[in-house]
């Protein structure tokens, strides 16, 4: 046996991969397509420019690495390796072709109820695994649900994730992309839990049916207004003490309209599950495990097998797909 010091281990890890071409550019990282030299397996290399941060390794990178090192599940993106190079941190992730946002926006694709059920099932399985491992994702949206070539959906982008275990700990309410942000966060709650992820899943469920974002607010204030117009303004009975939340503001009292008026073509069991995800009171909101046990997943139709799910037409150069997406996020390809 020999022992290997950290630096040597790092150099050996680094040598295992070859970077090929840039496929995306983000605010804090660039993403490259690469290969694992020994096997030829495609990987995604997420290169985080630590040199730009005067406090060293930044919190997003730490959060992502910390969470993904512990999570191993078919519906959570696999972090294969981590290594540093000069002042960059490199995450080696499994390479995934597309994401749910691109699927939703591709007007050539037609979704059957069985397809939606399949995506929901995979999302909830991945999320339940996070939650039972004490991890809050805090940024669920179609763009962060990546899809592998075999159709498996995987939760990705854990840059806002953190471990959760102490219900009394204060956390920032500035999490989750606005359209998917739970009402307690919009009202500035500092103590919250897994329910924030479930609200986002409810919004994604609705988006899969509507093929357009369900609650697209222009600002944080407009987000609440949009939400209340769609789902009714909560009363103290719906959600006790919510008027005590730090950023509470009073809104016009919109009536609650039944979801069936907007979601006309869908089954009662799916409406029931969606309603339970979009419950204002976070304590009453359905959990990931309860959702997985909901009749919607037991009733017909059976969820589509991942391989058979609709997918955007395969581009000869997958890298370009992702690149196009990053540069022009508003348009479908």
């Amino acid at each position: 046996m020999r022992v290997e010091i950290g630096e040597d281990m790092n150099a050996r890890t680094s040598a295992k991969y070859r970077k090929e071409k840039k496929v995306g550019e983000g605010t804090y990282a660039n993403v490259y397509q690469g290969v694992e030299v020994a096997t030829g397996r495609l990987v995604a290399l997420k290169k985080i420019k630590v040199g730009d941060f005067k406090s060293g390794l930044d919190m997003s990178a730490i959060r992502e690495v910390k969470a993904l090192r512990e999570l191993h599940h078919p519906n959570v993106i696999q972090l294969i390796d981590v290594f540093s190079h000069k002042t960059n941190l490199n995450l080696v992730l499994e390479f995934l072709d597309t994401d749910l946002e691109m699927v939703i926006k591709d007007t050539d694709l037609i979704f059957k109820p069985d397809d939606i059920k399949s995506w929901m099932l995979m999302t909830l399985r991945g999320l339940y695994h996070c939650h039972r491992s004490w991890v809050l994702h805090r940024d669920l949206k179609p763009n962060n649900l990546l899809i592998a070539s075999d159709g498996q959906l995987k939760l990705a982008d854990f840059g806002l994730a953190r471990d959760y275990g102490d219900a009394t700990a204060n956390m920032t309410s500035q999490v989750v992309t606005r359209w998917y942000r739970a009402p307690e966060l919009l009202f500035g709650a500092k103590k919250y839990g897994y329910a924030v992820d479930m609200w986002a899943v409810g919004c994604i469920f609705a988006e899969l049916m509507l093929r357009t974002p369900y609650l697209p607010g222009d600002s944080d204030m407009d987000q609440l207004n949009t939400m209340f117009r769609a789902l009714g303004t909560p009363t103290d009975e719906d959600w006790p003490n919510h008027t005590q939340l730090p950023d509470y503001v009073q809104f016009k009292q919109y009536p609650r309209t039944p979801l069936t008026t907007l979601f006309t073509a869908t089954t009662p069991d799916s409406i029931d599950l969606m309603e339970k995800m979009l419950v204002y009171n976070p304590i009453k909101r359905i959990t990931a495990l309860e959702a997985l046990n909901h009749p919607y997943f037991q009733n017909l139709p059976r969820p589509t097998a991942p391989k058979k799910l609709p997918k955007p037409a395969l581009n000869i150069n997958e890298g370009q797909v992702a690149e196009k997406r990053r540069l022009d996020p508003g348009k479908s390809i």
Partner: protein, 292 residues
């Protein structure tokens, strides 16, 4: 998928990569120390080429290294208190330092600098982030850059596995659980608080590498129960009706108790002596002021 049926803890990096037998732990450290001495020796001799040096270098033994590390581990507590960091951050920093010096030696990396970086890094990974300037300011002869220099080196040696499981959460679980079975909550609360102290002591031993956090917590509960006359055996009986399980668990618990009781702080005389010797056997390759 057979993995789904195994306990969730077995997926954790702590279970997969940071769990050893006592023998294995000793073997790794022994090899790390030997390799460290060889590296330092080679480079010190290379540095002296062309010089005539009669200096007899007295390299650090494994026990010397452990004494020094142990001393700096206890310093983490002092700094954590100064920055008003929660116990969780302190505990994680101590484990980071232990993990780091499993595969590295103090002849390569100054234990004081590594200690500071471990605490700074733990403040990030445990969500209690402090600005690096604020962190470095009150520490004499230490700049922000000194703290950041080792951040990658430490992270690499931790295999970028930042999650650490401590006995505190399971202990809290036992405390809640025992409330269902006990009516004297006030005594139980005293036992819990005392057990917490033992958990803190356990951080300075090798137990984190050897046993599950829940097992360490249970042993700390037993130690506190002995001090305060709480019926631990009764609790164990109620929880585990199967005698074989109970016996197996008690053997583990007793070994943990013996380890916690045997822990003593290292004497400052020894630390001072080792620290003085370290000046002459630092690996010049890692020393910015070296000629190499």
């Amino acid at each position: 998928m057979s993995q789904a049926h195994r306990p969730l803890y077995e997926q954790s990096s702590q279970f997969r990569n940071w769990r050893f037998s006592r023998e294995k732990l000793h073997e790794i450290r022994k090899l790390t120390n030997q390799a460290g001495v060889e590296r330092a020796q080679t480079n010190i001799e290379a540095e002296q080429v062309g010089y005539r040096s009669n200096k007899q270098v007295n390299y650090l033994s494994l026990d010397d290294e452990l004494a020094l590390c142990h001393f700096y581990e206890t310093k983490i507590d002092t700094f954590a208190r100064h920055f008003k960091l929660p116990n969780q951050v302190k505990a994680t920093a101590i484990v980071y330092m232990k993990r780091f010096f499993l595969y590295n030696t103090v002849m390569d990396y100054s234990p004081k600098s590594v200690m500071l970086t471990c605490l700074y890094l733990a403040s990030k990974t445990e969500n209690k982030f402090i600005q690096v300037e604020d962190f470095a300011k009150p520490i004499p002869k230490t700049s922000s850059q000194d703290i950041l220099t080792y951040e990658f080196v430490v992270s690499q040696s931790l295999k970028f596995e930042y999650t650490v499981h401590h006995p505190f959460s399971p202990l809290y679980g036992f405390y809640l659980d025992a409330q269902i079975l006990n009516d004297n909550i006030s005594l139980l609360t005293q036992v819990y608080s005392k057990a917490m102290d033992y958990c803190n002591t356990s951080l300075y031993t090798d137990l984190t590498f050897i046993y599950f956090p829940g097992q360490i917590a249970l042993a700390c509960l037993k130690l506190a129960a002995q001090d305060l006359n709480w019926n631990f055996a009764g609790y164990l009986h109620q929880k585990y009706s199967d005698e074989a399980t109970r016996l197996a668990l008690e053997a583990i618990v007793d070994d943990i108790i013996a380890t916690i009781k045997a822990r003593k702080p290292v004497s400052t005389d020894i630390v001072r002596e080792v620290d003085r010797r370290l000046i002459y056997c630092r690996n010049p390759e890692k020393d910015p002021s070296s000629l190499l």
